[in-house]
Each structure stands twice: as structure tokens, then as C-alpha cells.
Subunit: 413 residues, 2 copies
């Protein structure tokens, strides 16, 4: 079956009024897109239409013109708004006939629940002539595949669990084995998307055969490099790494919390936090992945000065003389947390997240950080500009993680 | 402006390689679809294409044929893969020119961060001739609108927060007004969208003139009621409140963290947290709004048992005999936090966020909560089922806030 077709490009057609009403986002398309990609099939377009025979038929015709394989999700159920099979018959000029294999499937599933099997369910077996049946192990609607002039059209139910389980059959029966694209990823923090693009402008212009992509998940930026030539991809990614510099914290496309967790686990170090302006965000990032208990012991959210001195033994003299947002207080918080929590390494944040609290010498967005290790304490200070409060907090929490990572990587414990 | 156009139908064009790779689902389209619907505009189709000038231009032409208003999301950034403006110029036959208004906007935003302003950012001001500018308050990319033969095309950045905030401008400037509509909102937590819809099915069927909308920001569900008749809206919202019951925590559409903050501030109470399985999430939610320092003092993230006993004085006997995930430990954590932090009220969480850690008698998702006040400690226990780790943590953090809210509302201090 596979050998007879060359399926290089795809188009997804998602059907359902609920998608056009905005009740749900089209997660089926994201699932299918990722899986097609794994097979080296290039997705050209996703078209979303409502439960209307003419609209679906037009979308099917356009999709067939655009791509070798058309994957359709939705509209195979038993109700009157399920019209995908009729639209397929219309689009490809094939009459609907009751498919014996499909009828048998519907009957055997339905008979478990209700006898006699309702006619509306048997309607699900009325499919375009010469359809090939795709069994559905999680629902009543059989899927089907049709040969088209250019390749193939497959029709799957819209319920995500059914669509996903039936997709495995499509992969096995119809798709080319995995593709030949190579990819490299750089995870960055501390430099904006446009600043990174500027740094890579020359390199990317020099290598038009490399597809460069950016993905921003504030405050992280992921840069991807893709091409058929593995050596070239590696080479360009390495040059890009040098061009971007220390904003790159990982060369596998992992997130900063994951990389920090990995570094701590590899070295067998325990950590803790002391947070003022980040208000629990650093602890939350460190505990969001499974297995955090192997390295994260705990933290103190020292939002008020009283808690800073009470639980972290920050000197009240320092708090009064230089204020909570200062290098000495950040350092005391980190050391205090290391001791109070009994951990190998602790990171502290104290700053002005805004919108209030700025003074003449302490601007909005100013954050002091410290990382305490047994033998030393590192200080860092940064002004996070022009963002909303939650963005200052989030960017500061990632900066804390980055400082923690650097300290762990340099540590000799 | 509005009176000159009749915008009845819409088409959404979403651009971005990350959508065709399946890295993210197209949530922007769902947002836009729901908002268009609120304005009585009928959405005909959503087209998703990659970062390719020709593909975007074709999609724009097709969309313009299909509908009065075309809403485009993505591809306005400063990098080489941002090509939507060029595609628009191509599709509508208008040369790109540097737009003075847009240039001024880019310069004033960028000047806050970097001088001189990089050329790649100024590229964002190169727009099709005769474009009308849509200001972007959350990023550097200005949006723009173009008159088309049939109506209008609007171009917004793909970053969800920017797209959503700029959409408000589009509604105000271009969309048909909905007349004088009255609105009531219920904020809910602890019941799913479909369960709420089920409870409201009879009521909404009875009042087809009321437009009911649901917005889910996990784990909160906001239900809106809208109609021209203010008395009717109030009446229906009150009946809906009774039907949904105690899952409603606010009748103004506010978020749970905001309502908790307001309740504490009104009563002049200070609060703190003791978190195990939620790992800092409760503290983060309480500190994300400005002014948190007036009621939030701090917290202890007691992830390990040692920290629970060391900082919160949880009895090691309890930890060994009944385990960390238990009623006695939750109660001790809350009381310990109240005393250690010197606050009026403290909330504690201890549970099994998963995927590991479940035992025969302590299932995955089990969380014990306690709220300590001066005169009493309240306990609550709940199993959060079938969710991923981060969803268990998030749902549990909101449950902690809800328990805190109920305790504050009942408190007589």
C-alpha cells in the first residue's frame, strides 16, 4: 500500500460549528500536525469549517488541490449535523453506499448498548463508494480513507481520543516511514526575539537552505534550525550559539526549569529559595516537573520585612539602613535560606515588581538576586524594564533560575 | 467609520510555522471566533498557513472572497519569518511603505530598551499603503487595518496577550455595535464547563433572548449573560447563581485571587501560606496583583518533611505515623505558618500531585488542606482526578484560595 503512493504534503480539514463559535480550540489539528511532521510529511494548511455540506465539500476540494494527503477530523457521528461523509461524496463525485464492513462494526459496537440498533447509527456506515474502513476502538463512528487523484483522503471522528487512537492505524497503513529532516534547537533567555534575529541575520542569509524558526514562551525564546543535511544543521546551530552567546542555556530545546532540575540532580545537590518580589514563582517553576522532591527542599516567601528577619535572619539594621531591595539583603536572604532550609544552594530575589514602590534611587523593575553556596555567595542586580508586574515577576524568576544554573554548573561540590 | 460598512461575515487567517508543526494549538482563532460571535458576525472559515509569503497571500485572497471581514493573526514581528505585511501588500496589490505613525510607535517602545533602535524593528513599520494603524500597548509590533473591496482586513500580532488587547481596539473602531447590551457575570470554580451548562440548560432554553457565554481559564469558569433588558439579565443571572450553587464565588466576573485580596483588605486581615504539593503556586497567585503587601506577609514552601518540621513545627511523630499527606499534618502546617509568619490567617496544602507518590490508601491527586485562624482550624480534603501534575497543582492552589475566602468571609475578626 505504502509503496504505491508518495505522500509528501498534507492538508488538514477540521469540521465543527463549535470550532467556528470559539467554544474550543482546534487541538486535533495540533496533534495531527505534530504527527505528520514526525513522518516527514510537510503540512501546507489547516482549514476549519462548520457543519455544512457545501462548506466542507469546498474545503475538501481545495485541500486535495494543495496536498497529497488530506486529513479530515469531525462530522462522522450519528446526528443530523454530522455531514462529512455526504460532503466527501459530493466533493469527489462518489455516491454514498452502505458499507458492509462499516455496518458490521457499528452493529457490533452498538449492540452492546442498545437493541435494535437505531437507524441514525447505521447512517454512520453510509460512506462514499470504494472507501477503505478504519476501525474505531473507542466509539461508534468508523473512519474511512479514499484514494484521490493525487493521493489520499482520510476521515476521522472529531472526538480527540477517537481521532488519536485511529491515527495510529493511518500511520501504520498509509504513511511513509519517518522523514529525513534534521533539527537543532537553542533555548535562550535574557535576549529578545528581535535581538536574537539581528544577531543571526548574517548567518541565516548565508544559509537559505536552513529553515530558522522562533518560538517565544515569555521570557524564554526557542530558536530552531532545520534542513536535510545533518552536518550543516549542526554547524549552523553551533555558529548561532556563538553569535547569541551566553543567552543560550541549552542546546536541546529544553526549558530552563528542566535544565536546572537536571543540573541539580546530576550533581546530587539540594536547593531552596528565598523570594520576595517573585512571590513564590521560583519555587513554583522548580516544582512543576515530576521528581522535584529529589533536589528541591523548600523555600521561604519573605514578602514582608518581618518575615525576612524572622525566618531568614536578615539584619533589621540592613533592612532599615539600605532597605529590603539591596545587595546586602539579597545576600543575607540567600545565606539565611541555605541555613534555615539546610540545602546545598539557595537563590534569593528582592525587588520592585511594581506598579508602586519605586523611589528616586530604586527604579521600577529593579531586582537584586543572590545565590548562596557553602563557600561563597554570588550577587546580581538587574532592572527589568517597561513590562507589567506579572512580567517583571516572571522574568525575575527566570533570571533567578539562570543564576542558580550557572552557580551549579561552576560548582565543584 | 462603522456606518459605512456592513460586516456580517468573517474569515480568520492564522499564520505561523509553529501552528503547522503542531507545537501549539490555534487558541487565537478560538478567542477571535468567540468575540466575533458576540458581535453577531458569522465566522465562515479559519485558515492556518505557515510563514510563507505566497501561502499567506493566497489565504488572504481566498478569505477576502469568502467574507466581509478578514482577521489575520501572526507574522508582524521583527524577524525574517515575519512576512504578513509583505503578503498583504502582495495579495491586495499595494506597495509597502514606511508608515510614519507606526514608525513612531515602534521607536517609542523600543527606545525604552535599546538605542539606537535596530533596523529589524523598524521593518515592523513597513506596511501596505493606506493602512490604518492599530496601537499595540503590550509589544513592539503595531497592527493595521486595510479597506478591501468587500469590507475590511485587520492584522494583529500572534502573541496572544497582544492580539487580545488589540482586538478591543478593532471592536471599538470597526465592528458593528451591539446596541445597549446589559451584562451579568458569574465567576465559578470547582465545577466543569459542561456540568455548569447542564445545570443551566433549562434556564437558557427558557430565555433564548439571553446570550450565554462561557470562558474557561483553568480552573476558573466565567459565565456571562447578555441581553437588551437589564431586569431580565439580573433575574436570569440570579437564577443561574442558585442553579450552579456554591461553585459561584463572585457575581462581578472577578478572578478568585482578586476576590480573596479584596476580602482580606476589607477586613484588614493579614495572611500567609504553607505549601507542599502546590510548591509556591498559592503564594504566587496571592502576589500577582499590585498591592499584595497590604495583606500578604509571606509563606513557607515546605516541600520536604524536614522543612515541615523545621520551619512549621509539624510533629515528626505525625509525619512518621500518618504521613505528610494527612489531616493532622495539614492542620499543623497551617497553625505553624500562622505562628511562624505572625499572620491572622494561614492556609496549608499537602498532597500527591503525581505522577508518582500514590499508595494504596492515598491515591494520585489527593490533597489535604487546612486554614488556621486564631480561634479555629478548618480542614478540607479532596481528590483531584484525571489531571496532569501541573493541573492538579493549579486546581489545588485555587481550592486553597477558595477555602481561605470562605474562612475570611465567615470570620468575625
Amino acid at each position: 500500500m505504502k509503496s504505491q503512493m508518495t505522500l509528501r504534503t498534507a492538508c488538514i480539514v477540521s469540521t465543527g460549528d463549535e470550532l467556528l463559535r470559539g467554544t474550543i480550540a482546534d487541538t486535533n489539528a495540533a496533534f495531527l500536525a505534530a504527527r505528520l511532521r514526525q513522518h516527514g510529511v510537510s503540512l501546507r494548511r489547516i482549514i476549519v469549517v462548520g457543519d455544512d455540506i457545501q462548506d466542507i465539500a469546498s474545503a475538501l476540494r481545495e485541500a486535495t488541490d494543495l496536498a497529497d494527503i488530506v486529513v479530515v477530523g469531525g462530522g462522522l457521528g450519528p446526528t443530523t449535523d454530522d455531514v462529512t461523509a455526504q460532503a466527501a461524496g459530493l466533493a469527489f463525485g462518489r455516491p454514498l453506499v452502505r458499507n458492509a464492513t462499516a455496518e458490521q462494526m457499528v452493529r457490533s459496537v452498538m449492540a452492546r448498548f442498545v437493541r435494535p440498533v437505531p437507524e441514525c447509527n447505521l447512517k454512520q456506515a453510509d460512506l462514499p463508494e470504494d472507501s477503505e474502513i478504519l476501525p474505531n476502538e473507542r466509539g461508534t463512528a468508523p473512519g474511512f480513507a479514499m484514494r484521490t487523484q493525487r493521493g489520499l483522503a482520510v476521515f476521522l471522528p472529531g472526538v480527540p481520543s477517537e481521532l488519536e487512537s485511529m491515527w495510529a492505524v493511518v500511520e501504520r497503513e498509509y504513511l511513509p516511514s519517518r522523514g529525513v529532516f534534521h533539527r537543532a534547537d537553542l533555548s535562550c533567555f535574557g535576549m529578545g526575539e528581535s535581538a536574537i534575529a539581528e544577531k543571526l541575520a548574517g548567518l541565516t542569509a548565508q544559509h537559505p537552505e536552513i529553515r530558522v524558526s522562533y518560538r517565544a514562551v515569555f521570557p524564554e525564546i526557542y530558536v530552531g534550525f532545520e534542513a536535510a543535511d545533518a552536518t550543516l544543521v549542526t554547524h549552523v546551530a553551533q555558529r548561532a550559539h556563538r553569535a547569541i552567546g551566553e543567552a543560550v542555556f541549552d542546546v536541546r530545546g529544553l526549558s530552563l526549569p528542566k535544565v536546572v532540575a537536571e543540573a541539580l540532580k546530576t550533581r546530587g545537590l539540594t536547593c531552596g529559595v528565598a523570594e520576595s518580589c517573585t512571590g513564590g514563582q521560583v519555587a513554583r517553576l522548580l516544582t512543576q516537573e515530576a521528581g522535584a522532591s529529589s533536589f528541591f527542599r523548600g523555600g521561604v516567601v519573605a514578602y514582608s520585612n518581618e518575615i525576612k528577619s524572622r525566618l531568614l535572619r536578615v539584619s533589621t539594621t540592613d533592612l532599615e539602613s539600605v532597605g529590603a531591595v539591596s545587595e546586602p539583603v539579597a545576600r543575607s536572604m540567600a545565606r539565611g535560606a541555605m541555613l534555615a532550609l539546610g540545602v546545598d544552594i539557595a537563590v534569593a530575589t528582592t525587588g520592585i515588581a511594581g506598579p508602586d514602590g519605586a523611589t528616586a534611587d530604586k527604579p521600577l523593575g529593579l531586582v537584586h538576586f543572590a545565590v548562596a553556596l557553602r563557600d561563597r555567595t554570588i550577587h546580581h542586580c538587574q532592572i527589568f524594564n517597561g513590562f507589567a508586574r506579572t512580567r517583571v515577576q516572571r522574568a525575575a524568576a527566570y533570571r533567578a533560575l539562570r543564576l542558580l544554573l550557572d552557580a551549579v554548573r561552576e560548582s565543584t561540590c
